[in-house]
Symmetry: C2
Subunit: 356 residues, 2 copies
DNA sequence: TTGTACGCGTTATCAA
DNA sequence: TTGATAACGCGTACAA
């Protein structure tokens, strides 16, 4: 069914022979560099056309040492966050005639280490990664040691020689939290899927910038309002739908349950909405819900979701642009983007005790 | 900032020298093929370890002619349909130690042709594609001519020597349509984003199997119920949000407007829901809506959406498995999967005239 | 302007 | 079991 072709592909040598010129002359004519008489050029081009010549990019990479390929490592391409970022990366890469090779890690460090190794072996020109850990970074350092640029998508890792494309969520998270406070909320929960492996501060994990960032925005807003953050209301490592339901259950059984819930990302937001619907909790009548992430369906949920919307397409695009700049110019500037709040109907005044 | 490394990577020759053996002996020891005395093997492995040797996959591809890479061509990775399929492809590829390289085409034939050329030049081992046209297939034929397997994702193209992974929507589309008929609907619209370039039959485009498939399911169900399909109600090439709003507008200004709308995919479904909300049309009180596609947020829309759910992760996985089989075994079996209907709350009885 | 010859890092061939 | 050598297809220094 899938036999190999009998006649192999035409090479530069074949084209040269047919055009009756030397190999390097053909090579120059095809690559349009150096100097070739226009008469010869036409003859070479014609010969190439006739033979259906196509350059072998593998051979080309072999002696240029460059592959015009960007390696992209994300936790899950299925997540709209990363698929949108990927589209941005892909569009930017395409515009500069680069290709994109993808690896999913499921937030698994071993998989990430493996992906880096494979990409390095394949001689990608640069690697774009949303790292799962800010502490185990030997493999990321290895990228730099190999002489290839490294671009950090969204998450910043201290002590690493890399370009980072950051999306600052803090100001928007601050704004959203303050809005909740204005509406009378004092018991505000934050549920995050983050599995961190680093230090923690007062029970809060630290180290991965995007998390610190979100948390700072929230905590600062609470502090301004003189509301003491309750560790009971801040939950990490909530990774499955089941765990989300459990956490929601626990939160509502607290002596003083939350009146608002902040979701760290769209998956958590979905699971929270599902769990609340299961329990028949009215939104926003009984609880306000705000997602610290956006996704295409956010205007259409019941009720339409108030979100902190990060410009991820732009971030992906910027990451690829930075990677290509670093490859070609040996330098690239870090990028900082800002999320913004989109107010819709999933938040409202804090319920009074009588309505609860 | 991003200087090239001073000391280049260790090669087989370096390892061989350090271990005090010949280049080919080292190569055999590292690749664990041929025969090497265990004493020498250990020495070579130790030397490789010390030098931090890593094989150069580009050089390897160069003379094996294989790259352990699958090229994947989709219209838009941002679309959950393709991002989920991509995850399936990626997981299956990963399990067999293959890599995945991605191209987006935005349903643009030129981009698809370009992507094929690039992938061929890069010597991918096989190409998985959801083709945008069933007629312009020279570039797809070129894949086969080059001796590489071609796997068609979701869409079947006649007259092409390729393995296809099909998702049959027809039975589920039939079932969903019949359900609508049972509920009293006789005016059922179908809105599709498909931009086809082929023949049409009674104004309906034909040729791309997944479309014929959906349409057949719907038309068969109508025929069984002795309802004559109205070409006015069947709309193709609805690709933008604006166009969707226009089409909705047009449909509702018909003398006999639809009481149910079938959406071809999740993007169209989103735009339809948005347009209906804009017009304040009650779902399902005034119109029933069913999507012929599923996506993670379908249970959480207002109202929860009745959908025809295609197993796309499985389709992606199967496509990659078939591609790898074709590469390694020279043959692969086509795969046929079935979508199923998930009944939720966006469909209901046809409104009586008095309520309209 | 043109052509020859070599290098890139690997695997494959083959004689020792 | 081993190692010298060729081959993959391209770019490119260098000489003509």
């Amino acid at each position: 069914m899938f036999e190999r072709p009998l006649n192999r592909e035409a090479t530069v040598a074949d084209v040269a022979r047919r055009a009756g010129v030397g190999k390097s002359t053909a090579s120059r004519a095809l690559g349009s560099y150096g100097s070739v008489s226009s008469e010869v050029r036409l003859r070479v081009l014609a010969a190439a056309e006739e033979l259906g010549y196509r350059p072998n990019e593998v051979a080309r990479s072999m002696n240029t040492g460059r592959s015009r390929t960007l390696g992209v490592i994300v936790s899950d391409i299925e997540n709209p966050y990363f698929s949108v970022a990927m589209r941005g990366i892909s569009d930017a890469a395409n515009a500069s005639r680069y290709n994109v090779i993808l690896a999913n890690t499921s937030e698994n460090l071993e998989a990430e280490i493996h992906a880096v190794r494979v990409f390095l072996d394949k001689r990608v020109d640069a690697i774009i990664v949303a790292p799962s850990s800010a502490y185990q970074i030997e493999h990321l350092k290895a990228i730099r040691t190999s002489g290839r640029p490294l671009v950090l998508l969204d998450r910043k890792v201290p002590g690493l020689d890399a370009v980072s494309v950051e999306i600052s969520i803090a100001p928007a998270a601050h704004e959203a939290t303050s809005r909740l406070v204005e509406l009378g909320h004092t018991r505000i929960a934050y549920i995050s899927s983050l599995q961190t492996d680093g230090d923690s501060f007062a029970g809060f994990p630290l180290g991965i910038s995007s998390v610190e960032d979100r948390l700072h925005g929230i905590l600062d807003a609470l502090e301004e309002a003189a509301i003491r953050p309750d560790p009971e209301l801040i939950r990490f490592k909530v990774v499955t739908m089941e765990r989300t339901a459990e956490v929601i259950e626990e939160l509502f059984h607290l002596a003083d349950p939350p009146t608002a819930i902040l979701a760290s990302d769209s998956t958590i937001a979905r699971d929270i909405l599902l769990a609340l619907r299961e329990r028949d909790v009215g939104i926003p009548a009984n609880v306000s819900v705000i997602a610290l992430d956006d996704f295409p369906w956010s205007p259409l949920t019941a009720p339409p979701l108030t979100v902190v919307s990060p410009p991820i397409y732009e971030a992906g695009f910027a990451a690829a642009v930075a990677a290509i700049e670093a490859i070609e110019e040996r330098t690239a500037k870090p990028v900082a983007l800002q999320a913004r709040v989109i107010y819709r109907d999933s938040h409202g005044p804090a319920p009074t005790h009588s309505t609860r």
